[in-house]
C-alpha cells in the first residue's frame, strides 16, 4: 500500500564536499509519507551530511531537491522547518536552564492576546504531550536537573510532536535505556501510521531492522543498497556497510562470556567510600595495572560524576582517592593529569578544539613534556603524525582543522591526546558511542593494546556491548551505588541488564 504513495521528499544526484573531501557523491534518496526509513553506514559514510542537507543545515550542494514533487532550495534550517521538516541531532540540543515545558514549546510558546506566555496552559500541554510518550516529569522543573537520557527523550518528544511531516532522528537511542527505546519505537510506529515520514539513523542495526520499513546503506559517500527491512539481515547490512565479510566483527553478546581470573598486579587506583550529593553513595573499588575495569549502568546512574571526580573536574563530598598508594585530592584537572590520570569524556565536543588543527589537539595535553618555554611545532607534528598513523585517523593530515574530521575519527583524536606519554590510569566514558563497526573495532583494539602495556583502564558505559567487549572485570552502578561485581564468572548482556 505504501509503495503507491508518491514520495514526499525526493533527492537526486546529491553531491557535497567539505574542503575538497567529498562527503556525498551523486546520492539519490526518496521518502514516502507513512514510512520509517532506516539509514546505516560507517562514520563518515555521509548519512548525517545527507540529513543535514534535508534539514537545511547544509545549504551548499549540487543535485536536485524536491518536496511534494516541486524543486526547492532551503536557505536555512528555518526554511526546512516551515516546510515541515524536523530533526533530532546526534548531539543533545536543549536549553538546560529553561523548564521542561519551555523546552517542549521552544520557539512557539502559547501566548495570550497581549503576547504574554500562558504558563499554566504551557505546563499542562507539555505534561500531556510527555505523558503520551510515557514520560512522567514535572513540566516546571529545570531541564538541566534531569538525567541526560530523560533530556534526550524530551528533545525527541518535542520534535515528534511538533507536527512535522518529515522527522529525522540521528542516533536517537544511544543514550536511552531499553524500556525507553521501546517507548520511542511505539511512538514512531504510531506517527508512521498517522502518515509521518520518519528517517531513523542508528548504529544499532537490530534497532533499525525492528523499527524501519526500508533500509538504505551508505558507504564512502555513496548509497550502496536500499532494501525492505524484512528482506535483509544484520549480516547482510554489515557486509554492505563495510564492504567485506563483517560477521566476525560484531558479537551479539547474548551468550555467556567468561571473564578472566582477577589480576593480582599492582593497584593503581583505590577509591574508598566516595560520595557526592545525590549522585554517588559510598563507592569503593580498585583498578589494577594491565586490567580493564568496566563500569556499567543506565544513563544517570552516576558514571559521569564518578569519572569527573577521578579526573579532578568535580570534587566529591566524602571519601578518598589513592593513586599508586598515595592519597590524592585533585584541586584541578591539571593536578590529576600530573598524577597520571587521563579522561576521555563521552562528549567529544568537551575535549576537542574544533577550530584548531589536528596536531594541536593531539599535543595540547603533552606540551609540557615537549617544551619548557618555546613551542616546538615540528616535533608536535611528528608526534601527531605518529598517532594519526597508529590509530589510522582519516584523513591522515595533521594540519587539517579538527572540525573537518568525522565523528569516529574525532574520537580517535580524543584518545590520541593521551597516548604519546601513556598515563597510569585511563578513564574512558562511552569510548565507542555513536561509532560504526569498523571504528568501534579499532578503538577496542587500541584499548586492548594499552592494557598489555600495563595501563589501568576504566571503561564507563551505558551500552552493555561496550563494557562486554572490553572489560576484564565489571562493576554495575545503579542509582549511585555499586550493586554487583562480575569477575571470573560468565557474564552476558542479559545478566548485566538484570543487575542494573
Amino acid at each position: 500500500m505504501r509503495e503507491d504513495r508518491s514520495p514526499i521528499l525526493e533527492l537526486q544526484g546529491i553531491t557535497k564536499s567539505f574542503g575538497g573531501v567529498e562527503a556525498l557523491r551523486g546520492v539519490d534518496f526518496a521518502l514516502s509519507p507513512g514510512e520509517i526509513h532506516g539509514l546505516v553506514g560507517e562514520n563518515g559514510a555521509g548519512k548525517s551530511t545527507l540529513m543535514k542537507i534535508i534539514a537545511g543545515v547544509h545549504t551548499e550542494f549540487s543535485g536536485r531537491f524536491l518536496i511534494d514533487g516541486q524543486e526547492t532550495h532551503f536557505r536555512s534550517a528555518r526554511d526546512a522547518h516551515s516546510a515541515g521538516i524536523a530533526m533530532v541531532h546526534q548531539e543533545l540540543s536543549v536549553a538546560p536552564d529553561l523548564t521542561v515545558a519551555e523546552n517542549v514549546f521552544l520557539g512557539n510558546q502559547p501566548t495570550n492576546r497581549l503576547g504574554l506566555v500562558q504558563w499554566r496552559r504551557m505546563a499542562r500541554e507539555a505534561g500531556e504531550q510527555l505523558a503520551r510518550f510515557g514520560i512522567d516529569v514535572d513540566p516546571m522543573s529545570r531541564l538541566g536537573d534531569l538525567p541526560i537520557g530523560l533530556q534526550q527523550l524530551i528533545e525527541i518528544a518535542r520534535v515528534l510532536f511538533s507536527g512535522a511531516r518529515i522527522v529525522i532522528l540521528d542516533e536517537p537511542t544511544s543514550a536511552l535505556s531499553p524500556p525507553e527505546v521501546e517507548r520511542l519505537f511505539a511512538t514512531l510506529r504510531r506517527l508512521r501510521d498517522e502518515g509521518t515520514a520518519i528517517v531513523f539513523i542508528s548504529h544499532f542495526i537490530e534497532d533499525i531492522l525492528r523499527v524501519s520499513d526500508t533500509v538504505t546503506v551508505f558507504r564512502n559517500g555513496r548509497k550502496v543498497a536500499e532494501t525492505a527491512s524484512a528482506a535483509t539481515s544484520k549480516g547482510a547490512l554489515i557486509e554492505a556497510m563495510i564492504g567485506r565479510g563483517g560477521e566476525a566483527l560484531e558479537h551479539s553478546y547474548s551468550d555467556d562470556l567468561m571473564l578472566p581470573r582477577p589480576s593480582d598486579s599492582a593497584v593503581v587506583l583505590k577509591v574508598d567510600q566516595l560520595s557526592l550529593a545525590r549522585s554517588l553513595k559510598d563507592i569503593s573499588f580498585e583498578a589494577r595495572a594491565g586490567e580493564v575495569l568496566g563500569i556499567y549502568g543506565f544513563m544517570g546512574c552516576g558514571q559521569q560524576e564518578l569519572s569527573r571526580i577521578l579526573f579532578g573536574k568535580l570534587k566529591s563530598d566524602g571519601g578518598t582517592l589513592a593513586v599508586d598508594g598515595k592519597p590524592k585530592t585533585f584541586a584541578s584537572t591539571a593536578a590529576a593529569r600530573r598524577a597520571g590520570v587521563a579522561l576521555v569524556p563521552e562528549s567529544r565536543r568537551d575535549m576537542l578544539f574544533h577550530q584548531e588543527p589536528v596536531y594541536k589537539n593531539i599535543s595540547i595535553s603533552i606540551l609540557d613534556r615537549i617544551s619548557a618555554l618555546l613551542l616546538k611545532p615540528a616535533q608536535e607534528r611528528d608526534i601527531a603524525q605518529r598517532q594519526v598513523e597508529q590509530l589510522q585517523i582519516r584523513p591522515p593530515v595533521v594540519g587539517l582543522d579538527l572540525g573537518m574530521l568525522s565523528g569516529g575519527n574525532q574520537q580517535k583524536v580524543a584518545l590520541a591526546k593521551w597516548l604519546t606519554y601513556p598515563p597510569k590510569l585511563l578513564v574512558l566514558c562511552e569510548p565507542t558511542r555513536g561509532m560504526d563497526v569498523g571504528a568501534k573495532n579499532d578503538v577496542i583494539n587500541i584499548v586492548r593494546d594499552l592494557r598489555t602495556k600495563g595501563l589501568a583502564i576504566i571503561v564507563l558505559s551505558t551500552e552493555p556491548e561496550t563494557v562486554l567487549s572490553l572489560a576484564d572485570r565489571i562493576l554495575v552502578l545503579k542509582r549511585g551505588a555499586l550493586v554487583r561485581e562480575f569477575k571470573n564468572e560468565p557474564v552476558s548482556k542479559d545478566r548485566l541488564l538484570e543487575a542494573a
Binding site: 575538497g20 573531501v21 584541578s332 591539571a334 565536543r349 618555546l374 613551542l375 584523513p395
Partner: protein
Amino acid sequence: MASSETALAAGQRARGLAPFLRSQMRNIAPFLTLIFLSGFFALASPSFATLDNLGNILTQVSVTGIIAVGLTFVILCAEIDLSIASIANVTGIAVAYFTLQESYVNIPNIPLPGAAAILLAILLCAFLGLVNALGLTMIGIPSFIMTLAMMQIAAGISALLVRGQIAYKVPGVITTLGSGSIGGIPWIVIVAAIMLLLGHLVLTYTRFGRYVYMVGGNREAAEYSGLNVKLILGAVMVISAVCSGIGGMLGVAHFGSAQQNEFDTYLLDSIAAVVVGGTSLFGGRGGIGNTIVGLFVLGVLNNGLDHVNIDSFLKILIRGLILLAALVINVYAQRLREKAVE
C-alpha cells in the same frame, strides 16, 4: 602518506579564493578599513600623509598600544578587563607619589629613590591584577563585574594618593622613556613597539601563548585536556594589569603630569584597538598583529579627523560608529569561520 597530504592540500586550494578570503575575514576587514581611512584622509588633507604626521600618529597610539598588549591576552581568553585605564592611572600616580615633587606641589607624598618608586608602582599594579585574578578564578566573579569593581578601587586609590592635586615629577628614566627621544624617534614609540613584539612572541612561540589560545578557543576542552585553566586566566589578568601599569607610568611622563581621571579615554580606546583589529570577543582567534592594525585604525581616525577640520563633537560619534562597524564584522567573521569548519 606524503602523497595524500599533497592531494588534500591541493583539494583545499581547489576550494578557491572566495572561501579562503571568507575564513580570513577577521584579518582582512580591519586592514581594508585602515587602507581606506588612510587613503581618505590623504586625499582630504595635504598635511595628513607626511612623515611628520606619521610620527605623530605613532606617538599618539603608543600608550594605548602598551595597554592593549595585555588586554589582547585577556580578550583572547574570552574575558574582559575594564580596570585597565584605572590601573594605568593609579600606577602613574603611584610612581609620582614616591618621587620628590617641587615644593609648590601640596601632596603629602613619600619620596624614594627612582628605582624603588618604579618597583613599588609595578608591584602595585601587579597586586591589583592579582586581585582581579583571584576574584575571577577563585571566587568565580565574572571578569566584567570583577574588573568593574577594580576600576572603582583603583580610581579610589588614585584619589587618596593625589587628593585632587597634580604631581609633575617622575623618576628620570621614566621621564626619558615617556617624553624623550633617540635619533628623532620618541622612546615611548620604541617601548610600545618592543612590548607589542614581546607580546606577539609570547603568544605565538611559547607554550603559555598556545595555552591562552586554547583556553579561549574552548575552555571546557582545555580543562579536559588537563590544563590549569584558572592559572592561565589568572596570569592573563596580571599581565593585563602590569601592561596597564607600564602604560600609565610612561603616560604620566608623556603628559607631564599625574592626576585623577587622566586615563579615562584609554579604556575605550584600548578595547576598541583590540576588537577593531579583529581579535575575537569569543576568544581563541586574533593576536597582537590584529591589535597593531586596530591601533593604527584608531590612530589614523583620531589624527585624521583633526586634519580635516571636523566638528570635535561629531568626532566622538564617528568613533562610536566605527567601533560598532568593527563589532559587527567581528561577530560576523566568527560565524563565517564556524560555518567553514562546522
